[in-house]
Amino acid sequence: MFKQTLHISTSPHLVKGTSVEIIMRNVVWAMLPAAAFSVYVFGWNAALVLITSTLSCVLTEHVLCRLSKKRSTVSDWSAIITGLLLGLTLPPTFPLWMTFLGGVIAISVGKFLFGGLGYNVFNPALVGRAVLQGAFPVAITTWYDGFAADRFTTINSSLFAAPFMKPMVDGVSGATPLSAFKFDGVVTDTADLAFGFVSGSAGETSAILILLGGVYLALRNFMNWRIPVSILATVFILSGIFYWIDPSKYPSPLFMLFSGGLMLGAVFMATDMVASPITKWGVILYGAIIGTLIVVIRIWGGLPEGVMYAILLGNAISPHIDRLIRYRVYGTSLKSS
């Protein structure tokens, strides 16, 4: 009757049944609508950029694991997130060789050097983008208007710039809503922003779809909803105050919410749990800091957009937040009599 050998494990013998892989896979699902919409807006250009960035991240992860003689960690899906997010932050006509390089840097510098999954102190996708922005500031701020008539028939030649060579600029370059505002004082209609009828990086176009993805993740408890809520609320309130003071000088809070990479950053990038604080209040403070930095950079800084920088700075601050904001351990602060 009892021939079976018994397993001996230590308690608890029940587990909740989530896993890193399930979480990561769901994040990918949540991003897909926004990614698909960007392809709809920018055509094959955006598709190629997204595919290249994802491939390059996955490939880099695989190769690095092999080189360091570890089991390949590609199957945990996190490299796919990094790749997709990197692609979404790039202009849809960004040269593919630069995109590829960005993916390599995101994974190798942003993730692997720091110890791989779970140890990266900065958001790897943003490390990739920050390096690209530092290296190729012109290419990364060359935008094209969406909904070009030929977007599903032709591919922009700048995508195929030879490796290490400058891209040829062709087609009409458009200004993003933020740079239009900062440099020319032109305000884009909020509905256009929310539904993506603007130029910008692939992931800037569909605030609504990104938000929906975020709601899905939050409902399934795969994402800390406090982070986006805190960031968006801070941006809204701060810019609301300035708008109230002088509407002719400062952008409206709705414009601030729906323009640029704010939605993508708040929903998918600041929420990377590895590089964000761990407690509820810590996370809210983290969101408030990021939100404040975004408003400061956008309104007073030299650059039109500050989401990436704000999140990277937030990442750098989060160890301190975790050090300062901890839960009071049960029974402490009361004197043991």
Partner: protein, 209 residues
């Protein structure tokens, strides 16, 4: 401490010279005086000028310290070294201004900052104050050249990738896409990290053999 290692492993003057180039390279092994290394290595020319200026100060101060080593009482030695170093730095500062205003502009305040480069003070303290003039000069030559080598190797990488040229001469085609980041501060950090990584990998491999 350095001194003990030096005495044990470098019995003759050529060795004093060689060690600075490789085994005790100030940039890659000792990681000393990093500020100028990072700040002025954005082009090979700047790096070379800075390296030579540092080497000059190093050689001169090492010589003078070595010559005066029996004359300077222990209590005031650091003060005297700083005085000596600051003198030679002021001299090279004026000399560079007299050579080219542009070069001086590019190197900025970093020429003056050679004063506080701990490489120089540490050589004076750890070596020149205890060794003969010839040995001290050899040591300074080696360290100075090693420092220059480190700087220039950084500067070359940064200049080639960042501007497509080397010592100001374009070597890559016009269509080459420059990596602006290489000239930015971040590029300095990254390049130095990469060089150190290469060095560590090499050391690891050699130790494994």
């Amino acid at each position: 401490m350095n001194n003990e290692i030096t005495k044990a492993t470098a019995p003759n003057t050529t060795d004093e010279f060689i060690k600075g180039l490789w085994k005790e390279n100030p940039v890659f092994v000792q990681v000393l005086g990093m500020c100028p290394v990072l700040a002025v290595s954005n082009t090979a020319v700047n790096a070379l000028a800075m390296g030579l200026a540092t080497a000059f100060v190093l050689i001169m101060s090492n010589s003078l310290v070595s010559m005066l080593r029996n004359f300077i009482p222990k209590e005031v030695r650091i003060a005297s070294y700083i005085l000596i170093i600051a003198t030679f730095v002021t001299m090279i500062d004026y000399a560079i201004q007299a050579i080219s205003v542009d070069l001086h502009k590019n190197l900025g305040a970093f020429i003056s900052l050679i004063v506080v480069n701990c490489l120089i003070l540490s050589r004076a303290e750890a070596f020149a104050s205890k060794n003969t003039l010839t040995k001290s000069i050899m040591d300074a030559l080696g360290m100075g050249l090693g420092f220059t080598l480190g700087l220039v190797s950084l500067g070359m990488v940064r200049e080639i990738l960042g501007s497509g040229s080397i010592f100001g001469i374009a070597i890559l085609p016009d269509t080459f896409q420059e990596w602006v980041i290489m000239i930015l501060p971040a590029g300095g950090f990254f390049t130095l990290a990469a060089w150190l990584l290469v060095f560590n990998l090499y050391k690891q491999k050699r130790n494994a053999l």
